[in-house]
Symmetry: C2
Subunit: 319 residues, 2 copies
Amino acid sequence: MHGEFELIARWLAPDATQRRPDAGVALGTGDDACLLEPSVGQQLVVSVDTSVEGRHFPADAPAWVIGHRALAVSLSDLAAMGARPRWCLMSLAIPSVDDDWVAEFARGFHALCTATDVSLTGGDVTAGERAVSVTVMGEVATQQALRRDGAQPGDIVAVTGALGGGAGGLALWQAGERDLDHPLLARYLLPQPRLAAGQLLVGHASAAIDISDGLLADLGHVLDASGVGATLDMERLPLAPGLAAALGETVALEAAVAGGDDYELLVTLAPKHLDEACNALASIGLQLTPIGHIHAGQGIQGVSSAARRGWQHFSGGTP
Amino acid sequence: MHGEFELIARWLAPDATQRRPDAGVALGTGDDACLLEPSVGQQLVVSVDTSVEGRHFPADAPAWVIGHRALAVSLSDLAAMGARPRWCLMSLAIPSVDDDWVAEFARGFHALCTATDVSLTGGDVTAGERAVSVTVMGEVATQQALRRDGAQPGDIVAVTGALGGGAGGLALWQAGERDLDHPLLARYLLPQPRLAAGQLLVGHASAAIDISDGLLADLGHVLDASGVGATLDMERLPLAPGLAAALGETVALEAAVAGGDDYELLVTLAPKHLDEACNALASIGLQLTPIGHIHAGQGIQGVSSAARRGWQHFSGGTP
């Protein structure tokens, strides 16, 4: 039936001869399904994320950026579980056949596959509103995955990297900025999933989540799943460099607590693990910043009124 | 961000307490990713299919039918590999929140999950043109999967069940028929993936594919992958019961060779395996019908001119 789209799907497929022998792919794209070889003693970690044009990425973003970003946001879920990424499948919907666009899209997608050692092993292409759905599969040693439900009273709340860059970059894009070398724009459009950090935090962190919905929302998910509360120290939030200069201090803080799209990791960990975890992340050039602590109860305390306004501004809800 | 849609995603999630202890699910929906437990000695078989409203299913189809069908067409890929289905993830895009529609959709989806022993372990819901993308995961003993590239000269070409019902049902739907108890309509809207048949054919079939694009197109995929040709015996094609009566003999034949959407299995097998394979499928009440044979060369011979016209009618291409 949809011959042209099927051709595109095949054309998107990577050259199997380029695949590493230890990729665990017995059969890649081109059959009814792929055949993968999971590792013994590991759990399979699977997530899917759909990115829709105009909602999750700007309609006028470069195609290679869309390819990178769609995969990156899915991989971020594996990072939050402490998993090693291995394979992915990609469903692409496009309104019409545009070889140049697809080639650019594929370039961004495959580049991140290569950088993160992920094999694209399946997928399909359909006619439709432009959207990308990426299923990612990884592995983690049995019972070692970082989950949302492990936070304990007394744990420290910490975040990797810096916050607010995602929302700040979106604001800049909306204001007309198009230089992808701009650090904030890069944070928004070209997120780097914290895969190495997630794997290094296994054995140290008691819970983890990636910050896609915003710090308060995602911390809330951890608290709900763990049945605990938290108090934040707003003074310690690591703001993305240049964020306050670009947007002003108030909006910068709002972006950091509620803006989302940062794809940093939020973790909880026992105080005794903090130094080791910081040192482990320092070895890959990443900062881990304590920003609060877990206690009995529920909800988030210590949130400044400016931050609460930010929550309402960005999410329309109340923390 | 998209709070209402996130709520729907959680609401779509099955009750973990209903899950069988041997489901191999260490962690289901609700975290950043699910944690699954693949079986030792098995390969993981993964496929994704996206169904877009108005292209892959009628916009006015009942929601539960759409839920069933979206999962069924993905599971059909696992059937074609001879895999036992185990888990799935589902991405749903809907233009707006409609609780009744989602409840009905979920009912159809979950009913097929239960019937096929598949656990829904993840997914997301986004705002967008109505579409469903289903990733299915199954298992098959290492090196036992049915692939497209194993057909050998001398093999018999055979199909499960009957052909043409998918296209016939679509024609009836387009003509206004809405009785889902009509056998042809059911074949189109409520396909039953041939999962048991696929698993029974492991060890007998040399190659397999599911008939989604139409007999000639899908046989063509097997021939291309295997580097062989085939000759068909048009007289032996098992037409769906009632098809000729409903559409006339000419259109019925066209539908059977080129209509697609039948989700039967097309297999090749050495003559010595035919009786065993037929008996195995008879044990589950399914017929396996020889319709031709494989030989050296390429392309498909023995296709009647009526069938070639059918190909052009349904696909716009030439066989």
